[in-house]
Amino acid sequence: MKQLLDIDVLKVSNLSFSWKNNPVPVLSDIEFSVRDGELVAILGINGAGKSTLLKCMNRILKPENAEIQIDSMNINDISLLELSKLVSYVPQSVMTNFSMDVFDVVMLGRRPHISWRISNEDRDKVSKTLQLFDLEDFAFRRFDQLSGGERQRVIVAKAVVQSPSLFLFDEPTSDLDLKNQLEVMKRIRDLVDNKERRAALVAVHDINLAARFADRIILLHNGRIKAFNNPKSVLTEQNNRRSFRCKMHDSQCY
């Protein structure tokens, strides 16, 4: 594991969010930062605001007055194209309207970096990433004919090719069996342990996965951060009872 450097990749302060025509806030007074080389998990029950929080990080949602900095740049001060070079978001599942070959889907990750022509360098980056994710055999298969787990891998590969500083993962393990859950989390771990300047923010609802792979955990409850620290200090009996409404030894928690 690379040594955690004291550089903030992501810095969030003063973040509150509510939907139009609905005064009840989904997120309120969120403040945290993610350091280089860190994997931060966002834990919380359904509706706690995990996805909303992630989507505020790359302007899919636009909270008012929030101060969000990635690589010391305010995300509202740069164009969407520039932003997509800093952060890439992996949604829970990708529904396709018009399908493409897996190679071309992953190539979309290079889109922020190319104007029109695909260079050999871009192609090699895509090929290498496909190999890294065991997707070589799928390179020229249609994306919509893959299984859920394989698609997930393709979209993660696309995000990697985008070479951002910050990865956002929205429930990357929700559609997967146990073996694949561990594999995906291991890959995310490898991504941030890489020498390059990288960090990941991962929304999960599986406490075990969070405890095993995350450096720090954000515990979200009713749109507020209840705890933000290393897994050991966050996953206390009291926190669990409050935020998950179950006891530690309860099988539901494990």
Binding site: K55, N58, R59, I60, L80, L81, E82, L83, S84, K85, V87, S88, Y89, P91, V94, M95, T96, N97, F98, S99, M100, D101, F103, D104, V105, L108, G109, R111, P112, I114, W116, N120, R123, D124, V126, S127, L130, Q131, E136, A139, F140, R142, F143, Q145, A159, Q162, L168
Partner: protein
């Protein structure tokens, strides 16, 4: 074994080769089709001889006298005044409608969309009906009154689309639903007018809606073609954004650096303009805008950098082919191209779709 990168390069080259072959076939078919007609049959070489006879261009110097071809005989007059404008209009209509269809399907993320979906054509139909039935036209005296009115009313729909696009919360679905609403509203007004129209007006209106390539003369056809040539690069430049938008909707687009709302608005304006320019002159030609992009997708995939040129050429090929068959099958009766396109294109489209489904499994 070759690497994945090399395979990808090869695939791209094959796609470009396919587009080139398709383009050559379309040009050949156009020349061939120019030889067909009720007055005389020419082979391809005689047609080429007429077109590349440079002496007839000698009077095209400024100031232009309005005479063209300059010193052509009977045969070259037939080619230049009747067949060439028709074929040129066919090629341009095919290119414009197929491109508009590909753009709209991509940026709205919906395979059911065609250039007629947004209501541009319904606007044109309303304009035409007003001109025919009520003699109401913004361009009162000229043989182009119907066309000009159709164009103007389709531009009103384009203006509505632009207004929609300026709303930040507009989604792909809202565009489609507004388009359908416009179609219903204009349809109701046109039906009301039909109810009170005379037999002659009814038949004229029906004729307009069949879709035909015979209306524009040489200068009309050239102007339309120039307009479409001007718009084509403006549509192709959105290719990468369309690749991103068409794969999986707005959130995916944003995380890849594409602003879906602005991009969608700009693309829709271009495609609506393309549609209205063509539809005003030809009447309702719908099928090519739906089918040509899908056929091209089945043949070369969904990379818009290649899909737009491929759809454009495929659209031209389909329209010229359908028109040629329509002119010759029951000659001297000419079956309108809109009808022929659906009759020939429909089964071909179904064949390609079903054949491809079968291979996938």
């Amino acid at each position: 074994m070759e690497s994945i990168s090399e395979k990808h390069v090869l695939k791209g080259k094959n796609q470009i080769l396919f587009i080139i072959i398709l383009t050559i076939s379309t040009l050949a078919l156009s020349l061939f089709s120019m030889g067909f007609g009720s007055s005389s049959q020419l082979d391809m070489f005689s047609t080429m001889k007429i077109i590349f006879d440079f002496e007839q261009y000698s009077c095209l110097i400024v100031p232009f006298s309005g005479e063209f071809p300059c010193n052509g005989d009977y045969q070259s007059r037939i080619v230049w005044e009747l067949r060439f404008p028709r074929i040129l209009m066919g090629v341009t209509a095919g290119v414009a409608l197929a491109t508009a269809g590909a753009l709209m399907q991509g940026c709205l993320g919906n395979p059911l969309v065609s250039p007629l979906t947004l209501g541009v054509a319904s606007g044109a139909a309303l304009g035409a009906a007003l001109a025919i039935v009520l003699n109401f036209s913004f361009f009162p005296i000229s043989e182009l009154a119907i066309v000009a009115n159709a164009f103007l009313f389709s531009l009103i729909v384009v203006a509505i689309i632009i207004q929609l696009g300026n709303m930040r919360s507009i989604t792909a679905e809202s565009y489609i639903l507004v388009g359908i609403a416009i179609t219903f509203i204009t349809g109701a007004i046109v039906s009301t007018m039909q109810y009170f129209a005379t037999d002659a007006q009814l038949s004229q209106l029906a004729h307009w809606s069949f879709g035909s390539l015979s209306r524009p003369d040489l200068s009309n056809a050239l102007w339309i073609t120039l307009a479409i040539i001007w718009l084509m690069p403006r549509s192709i430049r959105w290719s990468w954004d369309l690749n991103t938008l068409s794969l999986s909707g707005d959130e995916f687009a944003i995380s890849t650096g594409v602003d879906p709302v602005t991009t969608r608005r700009n693309i829709l304006i271009i495609s609506a303009l393309m549609t209205s320019i063509v539809i005003a002159f030809t009447g309702l030609i719908g099928f090519v805008g739906l089918a040509a992009p899908h056929m091209s997708r089945l043949l070369i995939g969904n990379d818009y950098r290649k899909l737009i040129p491929c759809s454009a050429v495929f659209g031209a090929l389909l329209v010229v082919f359908a028109d040629t068959v329509g002119r010759t099958l029951f000659a001297p009766i000419v079956i309108p191209v809109g009808i022929m396109l659906s009759v020939i294109g429909g089964p071909f489209f179904m064949y390609l779709l079903l054949n491809n489904r079968g291979r996938a499994h």
